[in-house]
Symmetry: C2
Subunit: 345 residues, 2 copies
DNA sequence: CTGTTAGCGCGTTCAA
DNA sequence: TTGAACGCGCTAACAG
């Protein structure tokens, strides 16, 4: 792979076109203060020489890179991939590029990635999914560029974020099961130490149960890691030790599907014997049988809105509210019996 | 969000430490020619001042940005998301950042994205999935930085790539069905105009059929768009018009799962009445019942190897071969009857 | 409407 | 082992 080395600069274009580099810069940047004739001449030379502006030099001089950094837990996770697509689409729309990095939700790595992104002089930062600790607030506060959180929130409300009301969503999902009249509604959750997704959804479940006729029972709770396998195991354990369970709320679609399969493997049917409701509404939920009833989280929109919000901050535009909660909905399909659901919100 | 403006530079550090900026530059870049004492002093000042090197300025001066551009069809597609994770992991390992952009497989957009990435002075380019046309070869040839293709190939072998042998893989998958002794083996493919995935897999299917006892029958072929829905529709159409079909090879897992559901909805069973084999081995394939038999494509590895290859080119290291074909395998689960399969390759 | 002139923050000779 | 000086390619006043 032999490559040519001649870098052709704005200066070459200027000389060739018989104008100053300032003029070339103007036409390249669409500055209207250029006589049409000269503009055309410059444009011709640019094409002829195959000139390509150097964004790095431009970035150094203008102190803007038109790129934003994105810290995401794991791009191979459907949920975040969908979110990222929303981010990228809006970024493209506003002529920004995205530098993507996976954090695996590790605090250390998150901080380090943010640091690296800042070194690269990104114009803004999108931070997805992870829990916001004081270390995060510290580095974000020290940042000279705006930061927006997505699919997570800052309890202290110091940082702008866009997400959904997790507690409420989990509560509604559970309530659907309550309305179906079950005596024992189990819960398959994520780690309670996960303050972003795990804990809030647990709280929502608990609140719904406590407001119902039945009462909260620790024995009906199982914790997994959001993955299929853990949902399967949890359900199996539940069915074996709690024969009275006739409904379950799993806080991720993968776990919910795993739960459905566990039910089926034990010779029971969904939703006839056990109702199952999930959370997220990733494609998987409508690619299994029975179709999974789930909480529909607007993943794409969360990404898109977060990115849009970031552009506003980057352009110093006025922002009504930095804390935005997007609408979620109950997508009732075939793993639950209740087909209608009044939106109480 | 009020932000501070003071940018602290290498020059500030120099002054504060009582040395020249050249020395600071040396310690920042790990140049050994610095007396330990001065190094420590500089390091202290750096920490104290909270100095953060400006990668853009560095990029301009050194003509290296330690970032690579990645053009991908669609990050929300599981297959590519997995691939991207492989890329990102290796990139991180070699201290590169990734600028990600979605092309949706649109030729125009691909070219435009490459152009933008080149403007950003990426040190290398990873191009995923799309077909390589002359326009592509042209812009890649004109590029001063190395380009590696992943999950696609350049028939003209002008560009390096890493992928799998699609024809052979499709052929083997079909052959498994042949060995099960079916009279009519259907095919649910992608667009034949898709020279990257659609056409090769079709060729593989056809070759396998033609080498078998049975003969190729156009009526057993249906084309979809790799998505679940199209697989479902294709299978339904197949079952309705070709009652003799007892096996089908779908060129994507989503279509294969859709096919399975169509079979089931028509009151038949998989694999007892109809054997189904897919392609890709995305997580979905092991999250449905019956578990899907499929061609396992090393998605993560394709990304990882491609990125590794790119680093070699970027460092002017010796590369044995620019055309690498990774190993795939037959993942036989429960949607086919044959449980063993000799690897003939 | 166009050109001149400073930097932007840092890597890198070349001397010392 | 260290410093001075130049240049990377471009934007942004400021003149004219």
């Amino acid at each position: 792979m032999v490559k040519k080395k001649e870098t052709i600069t704005i200066y070459d274009v200027a000389r060739e076109a018989g104008v100053s580099m300032a003029t070339v810069s103007r036409v390249v940047n669409g500055n209207p203060n250029v006589k049409p004739v000269t503009r055309k001449k410059v444009l011709d030379v640019i094409r002829q020489l195959g000139y390509r502006p150097n964004a790095v030099a431009r970035g150094l001089a203008s102190k803007k890179t038109t790129t934003v950094g994105v810290v995401i837990p794991d791009i191979s996770n459907t949920f975040y991939a969908e979110l990222t697509r929303g981010i990228e689409d809006i970024a493209t729309m506003y002529h920004y590029n995205i530098i993507l990095s996976n954090s695996d939700m590790k605090k250390e790595k998150e901080i380090q990635l943010v640091e690296a992104l800042l070194e690269k002089q990104v114009d803004g930062l999108l931070f997805l999914g992870g829990e916001i600790t004081d270390s995060h607030r510290e580095i974000f506060a020290a940042s000279t560029v705006p930061v927006v959180l997505a699919a997570t929130r800052d309890e202290r409300r110091e940082l702008p974020y866009v997400t959904i009301d997790q507690i409420q969503a989990a509560k509604e999902a559970t309530t659907i099961l309550v309305h179906e009249g079950h005596e024992q509604i189990a819960f398959i959750g994520g780690p309670l130490t996960d303050s972003v997704n795990g804990y809030p959804r647990y709280v929502g479940y608990k609140e719904a149960i406590e407001e119902s006729e039945t009462s909260f029972d620790e024995a009906l709770v199982r914790l997994g890691d959001y993955r299929y396998r853990s949902g399967y195991e949890a359900m199996k354990s539940l069915l074996e030790s709690q024969p009275g369970v006739s409904a379950v709320f799993a806080v991720s679609d993968e776990m919910a599907v795993g739960a459905i399969h566990a039910v089926q493997d034990l010779g029971k049917r969904v939703p006839e014997d056990v109702s199952v409701i999930g959370f997220e509404n990733i494609p998987l939920s409508s690619q299994v049988r029975p179709l999974l009833s789930t909480v529909s989280v607007p993943m794409y929109d969360i990404g898109a809105v977060a990115m849009r919000l970031l552009t506003k901050y980057m352009n110093d535009e006025q922002v009504e509210s930095g804390q935005v909660y997007l609408q979620y909905s109950m997508e009732l399909r075939n793993s639950t019996k209740l087909k209608e659901w009044e939106d109480e919100r």
